[in-house]
Amino acid sequence: MEHVKLTNFIPPGSEVAPRLAALRRQARDFLAQELAAGGYTRTAAGWDRYDPAFSRKVAAQGWIGMTWPKQYGGQESSYLERYVVAEELLAAGAPVRAHWLADRQIGPLLLAVGTEKQKSEILPLIAKGECYICVGLSEPDSGSDLSSIRTKATKVDGGWLIEGTKVWTSYAHMAHKMNLFARTSARTEADRHAGVTQFMVDLKAEGITIRPIYNLADDHDFNEVIFDQVFLPDEAVIGKVDGAWSQVTGELAHERSGSERWMNAYGLLVALVDRIGKGASEYDAEQVGRLVAHLSTLHQMSFSIAGLLERGESPMVEAALVKDLGTHLDQEIPAVARRVVPEPARAGLDPADGFHDMFARALLYAPSHTIRGGTAEILRGIIARGLGLR
C-alpha cells in the first residue's frame, strides 16, 4: 500500500474556487430559504434524520448522485462540487439521512461494478430521492472483524437463498433496499476476505424480519434484520460473486472522509458560541475557540481528500485519519460543553432552551462515533499500515 503523505492534506488549488464558491452560495441560499419557509426544521439530531420529503427537494436541486453520469440521473459534477453541497446540507442541519448512504456509497458502488440493468433501474431512483438503501454488514458475532460474517447465501436455481442475521443496521426499517454482505464461499486462512458477495435486497422480500434495537438515547436507528430462507434472484448480485471485499475497499475513502464524520455535534458547537457570547471569558473563548480550530482544520482535510478522489486516487489511509480525528472531535464538543456550561449554569437555563437537547444528544451519542463505520482502533491500524509499520 502506498504510504500516507502529509502533503495529501493540502487543499486543492484555487483554479476551481470560483465555481465552487458559486455552488456553495447556491446551496447555502437554498437551505436558508427552506429553513425560513418551514421546508425543514432544526433539531438536536441535526442532519441525522429521515425525511423523504426533504430528500426529494434535495434531489430536485440535482444534489443526489451529483457525480454520476447524466444517463443515470446524475449531473456529472466533480467530487469537489459534491463535497461542497454535502457539507452545506450537514452544516445547515438539514434532514438528509434518508438518501445519504445511497448517494455516498451505494451509487458509486453500482457505477463501478453494477450491471447495466442495476444502474439504469436503481441509480435514477436514488437520484430522484425515492430510493433509500441501508447496509447489511455487521452481525451478532461480526463487528470489527468483518471477514467473519456468517450470513449465508446458497446457490439455488435462478438465484440465492439467504439465511442469517444482521445487526446495527441503521434505518433498515425505513429504507427500500439493503446492500447485503453474505458469505458465498467458506472463509480460508489464506485469504480471510475471500468468499463474500454483495447483494441488492428488496427489503419487502418474503422471509425478512426487521426488529428495532433501541440505542441508549432511546432512539430507533439500529435494527436487527433476520433473513429466513430469503430468495434473491441472480440479478441481485452486485459485482462479482466472492468479490465483495475488493469492491468495497474503494468505497471506504468516500465513506470515511466526508464532513459527516465531524458534523455530529455541530449544533452544540453553534449553541456554545451563542452561549459564551460577546463578553466571553478568556477561559470560555479558549475552550470554544479550540474546537472551532479543530473543526476548521477537519474541513480543510476533508476538502483535500475530495480533491484526491477527484484526481481518481483512493485515499483510504487519509480517510481513516480524518474519521479518527473527526469522531474524536464529535466527542470533545460535549466534553467542552460540560466545562463551559457546567451543571449550575445549565440548571439556570429555561427548560425550553434548545441547549438542553443539543447537549443531551451530543453527550448520549458520543460513544457511537468512534465505533460505527470503523472503530478508532481499526482506523489507527489502517493508518499504521499506511505509515509502513505493519
Binding site: F9, V288, R290, R380
Partner: protein, 354 residues
C-alpha cells in the same frame, strides 16, 4: 503547488540538507553567529524570499516565502531566516527601504509595546521588550511601535541588548532596551504599515509553518526508528500499542500541516486572520502531542543528545510559545466567532469569496 515555489524550495532543501547537520546545529546552538549557513542562504537569495521584485527581490509571493519557513522548520535551521523575512514584510508595508540582513522584529509577545514619541523634534522610543529573536546578531530590529495610539514602523539599528536569553533550542531571544533610543527620520513610518496585531499574526504564521515542518520530520524519524528498533525479537513497529500511538502522531502532524497550508495559501492573495489563528492554535497544540508520542516511540535513545530527535522537539516546544501559544490563539478564535454569533460560524469556517 506552483513551479515557482519549487524553484525556491528545491535549492533551499539542498542548502538545509548540507548545512543543517546535527553537528552543525549543535555547534551553532553553543553560541556565536551561524555565519556559514547564513552566507549560503544569502548567496542562494533565500533571505530575500519575502522581498518583492521592485524592492530587489526574486518576486516570490508570500505563500512561497512562508512555505520556505516550513521547510526550514523541518531541517531545524538555526538562523534568523523567518525574522529577516518578517522584517522585510513590515518595512515593505510601511514603505521603508529594505535593510541588509540579518534583521529581526519586535515585539513578539502579546501586550508588549514600544512607544514612539516626538521629543525635541526627534523621534524617540520607549519600552523594554523581552524575547526579541536574534537581537544580539541582527543588523536592526524592525519595531511595530505605537505613536499616539496609532501604529508606526521603526527601524532600530544596533539595538541595545539588555540581557541575553535563549529558548529551549538555544535560539537567541534577547531583552532589548528601547528607552531613549533616538531614530532617524528615514527609519520611521507613522500612519503607514502594519498594526501590531498584524505583525503578531504574521509572526505566528511563521512559527506555525516551522512547527508543521518539524512535526513532519518527527513523524518520519518515529516511523524509521520504530521499524529499526528490535525488542522481544521483532521491530517495535510490529506492536499494536506502538502502531496506535504512531497513528495518533500522524493525525496530529497531518492536522497541523493542513491548517498551516490553508493559511499559507491565503498569503498569496488575501491573508486571513482566522486561518492564521487556526494554524497557530492547531500546530502549537499538535506540537505537544507529537513530541510526547515521538519520544515515547524513541524510548531512552530519543532522550539522549546523540539522537537528532531533540533538535525538533526543543524547537517545537519553543516555537509553540512564540507569537502566541495555542491558548492565546484559541481564545482569539473564540472571541472572534462569539462576536459574530453561532449562526455566522459556518460562514467563518467555509467562507464564500466574493
Amino acid at each position: 503547488m506552483t513551479t515557482e515555489r519549487e524553484l525556491l524550495l528545491d535549492p533551499a532543501r539542498r542548502i538545509f540538507g548540507d548545512y543543517c547537520t546535527r553537528q552543525a546545529i549543535e555547534t551553532a546552538e553553543r553560541g556565536g553567529w551561524p555565519e556559514t549557513v547564513w552566507k549560503a542562504l544569502e548567496d542562494a537569495g533565500l533571505t530575500l524570499a519575502a522581498t518583492s521584485e521592485e524592492r530587489g527581490g526574486p518576486g516570490c509571493d508570500l505563500a512561497d516565502a512562508f512555505s520556505l519557513l516550513k521547510v526550514a522548520g523541518a531541517y531545524s535551521l538555526h538562523a534568523p531566516l523567518a525574522e529577516t523575512l518578517l522584517a522585510e514584510m513590515l518595512l515593505s508595508a510601511a514603505g521603508l527601504p529594505p535593510v541588509e540582513g540579518p534583521a529581526t522584529i519586535g515585539p513578539t509577545l502579546a501586550g508588549a509595546q514600544v512607544q514612539l514619541q516626538r521629543v525635541n523634534r526627534q523621534w524617540q522610543l520607549g519600552g523594554v521588550v523581552h524575547r526579541i529573536p536574534w537581537a544580539r546578531h541582527a543588523s536592526c530590529v524592525v519595531v511595530a511601535a505605537t505613536h499616539e495610539g496609532r501604529p508606526a514602523t521603526v527601524v532600530v539599528r544596533k539595538p541595545v541588548v539588555r540581557s541575553r536569553m535563549e529558548n529551549f533550542a538555544n535560539e537567541p531571544r534577547d531583552t532589548v532596551d528601547f528607552n531613549g533610543v533616538v531614530v532617524d527620520e528615514g527609519d520611521v513610518a507613522v500612519e503607514r504599515g502594519m498594526a501590531a496585531g498584524e505583525v503578531h499574526a504574521f509572526g505566528a504564521l511563521a512559527r506555525a509553518c516551522a512547527i508543521a515542518g518539524a512535526l513532519e520530520a518527527m513523524l518520519d524519524m518515529s516511523v524509521t526508528y520504530a521499524k529499526e528498533r528490535i525488542q522481544f525479537g521483532k521491530p517495535i513497529a510490529k506492536f499494536q500499542a506502538v502502531q496506535q500511538l504512531a497513528a495518533v502522531l500522524a493525525g496530529e502532524a497531518a492536522a497541523a500541516a493542513a491548517a498551516v497550508q490553508t493559511a499559507i495559501e491565503g498569503m498569496a492573495c488575501q491573508p486571513s486572520a482566522f486561518d492564521i489563528a487556526v494554524a497557530k492554535a492547531r500546530a502549537s497544540e499538535a506540537a505537544g502531542t507529537v513530541s510526547a508520542i515521538a519520544h515515547q516511540i524513541h524510548g531512552a535513545m530519543g532522550f539522549t543528545k546523540e539522537h537528532a530527535l531533540h533538535l525538533s522537539t526543543r524547537r517545537v516546544w519553543s516555537w509553540r510559545e512564540e507569537f502566541g501559544d495555542e491558548r492565546e490563539w484559541a481564545a482569539w478564535i473564540g472571541r472572534h466567532v462569539a462576536k459574530l454569533g453561532g449562526e455566522a460560524l459556518w460562514g467563518v469556517i467555509a467562507p464564500i469569496p466574493s
